[in-house]
Amino acid sequence: MIEGFTAGLAAFSSWQVVAGLFAGVFVGYLVGALPGLSAGVGMALLIPFTFGLDPVVSVVMLIAVYMASEYSGAIPAILVNTPGEPSAAITALDGYPMRRRGEAGHALTLSILGSAFGSVLSTILLIFSVSWMTKFALAFGPAEYFALAVLGLSLISTLSGNSIIRGFIALLFGLLLTTIGTDPVDGLPRFVFDDGFLSGVPFVSALIGLFALSEVLRMLETTDEPATPMRDIPGVSGQLGLMKPHMGNMVRSTFIGYIVGVIPGAGATIASIVAYTVQKRLSKNPDSFGSGNPEGVVAAETSNNACMPGALAPMLALGIPGKASTAVLIGALAIHGVAPGPLIFSQHPEIPYSIYISLLVGMPFMVLLGLYGTRLWVRLTQIPRGVIAAIVCAVCLLGTFSESKDIFSIWVAIGFGIVGYGLSKVHIEPAPIILALVLGYMMESNFRRALVMSGDEMTVFVSQPISAVCLAISLVVFVLPLIQTVRRRRRTSVEAAGYPSKAV
C-alpha cells in the first residue's frame, strides 16, 4: 500500500495532474448543476479530450467530474425542486421546502458539507476495504438483486409523506411504467408504441418532467407572489458549525452509501433513499421529514456522495462497471491500454492510488467552490418566479435532449410534466414513482432470471442468506410504519371520542 501511495503521489507532482483535478472539479460542478446532464453523460462528453492525455491525468480529471457532479446535483434540487442528478431527487424532498422557508443558504451549506464528509470518509473506507469488498459485490446474484429491489420498494411506507395510500398509488403507477420496454428475458418489445420506448421509459425525461416541469407549471399559478425573503448565511466557520448536530447522521449515511455503492447495479439513488428512510426512522422528529427537515438533506447528500467511492471498489478490483459513470471510467482507461480488474494493482498501481489521492485532495477545493458558490446561488431565489420558470424550463429541456439527442425524449418529459402537475393536484408526490422507475426493472428482470436459474423453484429467494435477510428486513420495514399509522389513528380517534371539545 505504501509503495502504491508513493507511486500515486509521484504522479501528483506533475502540474498536468493537478490542473486536470481542478478542471475536473469545475466541470463536474457545472455538469451536476445542469438537470438532465448526468455524471455519466458529462464524463463521456469529456472522453474525446482525454485521448491525448496521460492515463493518470485523464482518470484524475474524470474522477473529479464524477465527485463534483454528485455534489452539485443538490443545487437545483434545493433551489427549484429540479434534481441535477437523479439521486438529488431525495435531496429535493426536504431541501426545496427549506428554500421556500427562506433557508436556501442553510440547505446548500448542509448539502456541500455533507457531501464532502461522505466523500472523504467513504474514500478512506475504500482504501482499506477494496480487496474484501469485492467478495461482497460478487455475492449478489439474481435472487439477491431481487430481494434488494424489494427492500428498496418496501421503503415506500416510510417514504410517502402523509398518506400511505397515495404513496402506493404513485409506486404502482411507476411499476406499471417499468413494464414498458424490451422484455428482459425474451428480448421482445412490450407495450412499445414508439421505438423511443424500446429501452423503457427514458428515466431522465421522467425525472425532469415529474420534478422540474411540473414545478414550472405550479410556478405559473402564482406569478405575482413576491420573492422569498433571503436570510443571511453565516461566515464560513459558522457554516461549518451548522454540521455539529448531524455527525451521527453523516457517519451512518456514509456507511450506507458506501455499502450500497459497492453493489454493482445499485446506485446513488438507492443509497439516498435508504439513508433518508433510516434517518427518518431514527429521527426524534420523523413527521417533519418531507416538509423541510435538515436531517433529510444531510442524509441524502452524504450518502449519495459516499456511494461513489463504493462504486469504485468493484470497478478497480474486478473491472465490473456497476454504473454508467464507472463504465465511462473503464472506457477512458481502455483507450490507454489500462484495464481495471484483478491485475491493475500489480500492473498499474499508480491508477488506483492516484484515484484515491484525487478524491482526498480534490475535496477541499470542492468545498471552497461549494461554500462560496452558495453565496451566489442563494441570490437566484431573489429572481422573479416568471423568469426562473422560463430558465428552468429551457435548461431542463436542453438537458433532456443532451442525454438522448432525440426530440422524442423532450415530448416524454413534457408529458411527464403534465402528469406530475396533475398528480400534485391530488397530493400524489413524484418520489415514489422515481423509486419504482429505479427499482422496477431490477426487480422484474432478476426475479425472472432467478427463476430460470432454479427451474421455477420459488424457494431460491429464501434459501440464500443475503436474499432471505433482505426480504425479512423489507417485511419489517414495510409493516412497521403501517402499524404505527393505524395505532396513531386509533389513538387520535380515541382522544377525539374522550375529549370532544379538543376535536372541534
Partner: protein, 323 residues
C-alpha cells in the same frame, strides 16, 4: 436553388464522365458518423479512433454522434432519413442483424448499404477456476447426465451469444434445452455472475475475461474460432476438442450507410477504412482489445451480412419452434 441544381447537375455529369474526378471531389464537407452506443464503451472508443484516422486521410472532419437507445432504433431512424451521398455513415454490429429479426422488423439487411467490416470477436465458453467442468466434453456430459444442472449465463435470448451456444450445442449433438440459458442485461453481467458463482458457465468475449484468466479466477474451456486466441494461448478451440461448430459466427463491428450510395463513394470510404485499420495506433488498440482484424469491402460485407441474416432467421425459427 438554381445554383444548387447546377452544382448537383455538374456533379452528376462529373460522376458519369469521370469517376476519378468525382472521387477526387468527395468528400468536400464533414461526414457524420452515427453510433448506436453511448459514449465510453468499447464500440464507441474504437469508432472514435477510426474517425480520427479517417479525418486525416479524407481531409474532412468526422463528427461522431451517439444515438443510443432501443438496440439501434434511434440510430437507424436517423440513418434512414439521411441522403445516400456519403456524408452520413453509421456503426453496425451483429446485434443489429439480430434486431432486424426481432425488435426492429421495419428494417432488414437490404435497408442499408454495407460499406466495410472492421473486426471480429470470437465467442468463448468460460467457467470459474474452481468449476468441475474442464473441457467442452465435461460440459456436454454433465448436461446429458443431469439435464438442467448446468446454468449458462449470457445476453438476451436471440442475441449473437445465444445463437453461438445453440450452434455449439448442435455441433456437440446436445439438446440445448438441457442447459439453462439465463439472459443478463449485458455479456459483462453474465461474466460477473460466473465470477460470483451464481452461474456455472458464460458465453463471453476475450476482452471481458482475459485479465480474470491471467489472474487465475477464470478458465476458458472452448474458443469458437479456427485458431487459438493470441491473448489466451492455453485456451483450446472447439475444433481441437472435436466439435465442428460454424466459426464464421462471431461478433462483428462494421460501417454502414443509407441505401443507394454511389459505388465510388463506398469504395473510397472502404479504402480509407482499410488504411485506418493498418495504422500503428489502431493496430495496437485492436490487439490490446483482443479483437481480430477482419476487413471486408462493400461487396463482400454485403454478402457476409446476408449470410449472417439467413443464419439468424434459421435459428429464430428453430428456437421459436422449440418454445
Amino acid at each position: 436553388m438554381l445554383l444548387r441544381f447546377i452544382s448537383a447537375a455538374s456533379l452528376a455529369v462529373a460522376v458519369i464522365a469521370n469517376s476519378a474526378a468525382a472521387r477526387a471531389e468527395y468528400p468536400e464537407r464533414p461526414i457524420s458518423y452515427i453510433l448506436h452506443v453511448s459514449p465510453g464503451g468499447a464500440t464507441d472508443i474504437m469508432a472514435r479512433k477510426l474517425a480520427t484516422l479517417l479525418e486525416k486521410s479524407l481531409g474532412v472532419p468526422l463528427p461522431v454522434e451517439n444515438k443510443a437507445g432501443g438496440r439501434g432504433a434511434a440510430q437507424l431512424a436517423d440513418l434512414k432519413k439521411a441522403k445516400p451521398d456519403g456524408y452520413t455513415i453509421a456503426s453496425v454490429t451483429s446485434t443489429h442483424i439480430g434486431a432486424f429479426n426481432q425488435t426492429l422488423k421495419q428494417y432488414n439487411v437490404d435497408s442499408f448499404d454495407w460499406i466495410a467490416r472492421l473486426v471480429n470477436e470470437p465467442y468463448l465458453v468460460v467457467v470459474r477456476n474452481d468449476s468441475k467442468l474442464k473441457t467442452m466434453k465435461d460440459l456436454v456430459d454433465t448436461a446429458n447426465a443431469k439435464p438442467g444442472s448446468v446454468v449458462m449465463a449470457g445476453f438476451v435470448r436471440g442475441s449473437g451469444g445465444h445463437f453461438a451456444w445453440e450452434i455449439m450445442a448442435k455441433a456437440a449433438n446436445l439438446d440445448s434445452g438441457k442447459v439453462r440459458w439465463v439472459p443478463f442485461d449485458s455479456v459483462g453481467d453474465a461474466v460477473t455472475s460466473v465470477l460470483g458463482g451464481h452461474s456455472e458457465v458464460a458465453i463471453a468475449y476475450v476482452d471481458l475475461v482475459k485479465n480474470h484468466v491471467t489472474a487465475g479466477n477464470m478458465r476458458v474451456i472452448g474458443v469458437m474460432a479456427d485458431e487459438r486466441v493470441p491473448q489466451l494461448p492455453d485456451a483450446p478451440t472447439l475444433a481441437e476438442q472435436g466439435y465442428k461448430a460454424d466459426t464464421s459466427w462471431q461478433q462483428m463491428r462494421g460501417v454502414i450507410g443509407p441505401k443507394g450510395m454511389p459505388d465510388e463513394i463506398k469504395e473510397k470510404l472502404a479504402n480509407a477504412i482499410k488504411q485506418a485499420l493498418e495504422a500503428p495506433d489502431m493496430k495496437t488498440y485492436i490487439n490490446e482489445s483482443s479483437l481480430v482484424p477482419a476487413f471486408l469491402g462493400p461487396k463482400e460485407f454485403t454478402e457476409y451480412a446476408k449470410q449472417q441474416d439467413a443464419l439468424t432467421k434459421q435459428w429464430m425459427q428453430i428456437l421459436s419452434l422449440e418454445r
